[in-house]
Symmetry: C2
Subunit: 165 residues, 2 copies
């Protein structure tokens, strides 16, 4: 019964990350983050610039291991969590999702805040992030909150911000 | 240069919607909303129940028209907006994304608040929705806010809530 579906590349994500990338978007990371749509889709960017945030959906194309149902997040390797309770990129479908700030659109390029993907990652979709529909004030941290230790420290990990301790 | 990628069904989304579905999730809609994973992925649901919200990613399998780069949203048909500035399901890649409340997990079934998809929609992925990472307090409404008229009325449309005016 396992049906298969074909998706196509509609653009490319350019980032400064060639050899390593953060686990999550780093809002103020240095360097240029740019999504470049293929010419035939550029007209579809009209009005997108009115949004402060967007969803970026992409194909995770540089995986080096196979999918497991129990993950050990890289920033807390002694913890076992179900794959679907993690944001691990190694999933049955290597489908990446990031929420980023939209800075400006120039032609077929969208300039954004830091994106947590390698340079040249294939783009699958862009959607507007709409207040109320997507921003849930009563969201929680799930199992992350239950981990012992410094919450501020955990947040640095969640946000993907490099830090020395 | 257009690369193609194959994704596979990992489960099915059961909803009360067989002939029509709302444009967006209706939080308190009647009926049962249940995501059923295929047996081989059930173990990956461990710890997911600690999250209040989840992202549901799915293949939009009941489209009846072709993709256009300028959309006319069904609830405001006189408005022209770029496809990527809309949440139209008719996109280059028919990849659906919904944020819903997780109610409970029983075996390989996730019970949720209202999901805006037809019954038997193929599931592609589940991700935890994590406060701070995904909930952006300063998000906006983009072009929707610029439309003339009653903002409360617009919000009913955005939230997909049926209403009589």
């Amino acid at each position: 019964m396992a049906h298969h579906f074909e998706f196509k590349q509609i653009g490319v994500i350019r980032t400064p990350y060639t050899d390593s990338a953060p686990y999550q978007p780093v809002v103020n990371d240095e360097g240029e983050f740019r999504i470049v749509l293929q010419r035939e889709y550029a007209q579809g960017l009209a009005d997108l610039e009115t949004f402060r945030y967007i969803y970026v959906l992409y194909f995770v194309d540089r995986l080096t291991r196979t999918t497991v149902m129990i993950e050990h997040p890289a920033w807390t390797p002694d913890t076992n969590v179900g794959l679907f309770a993690s944001r691990s990129p190694v999933r049955p479908n290597p489908l990446g999702l990031s929420v980023v700030q939209l800075k400006k659109i120039v032609g077929k390029s969208i300039f954004t805040s830091g994106l947590d993907v390698f340079d040249n990652t294939p783009l699958l979709d862009i959607k507007p992030y709409i207040k109320d529909l997507d921003s849930k004030n009563d969201a929680n941290y799930g199992w992350i909150e239950k981990l012992a230790g410094n919450k501020q420290h955990l947040l640095l990990h969640i946000m993907g911000i490099p830090h020395g301790y």
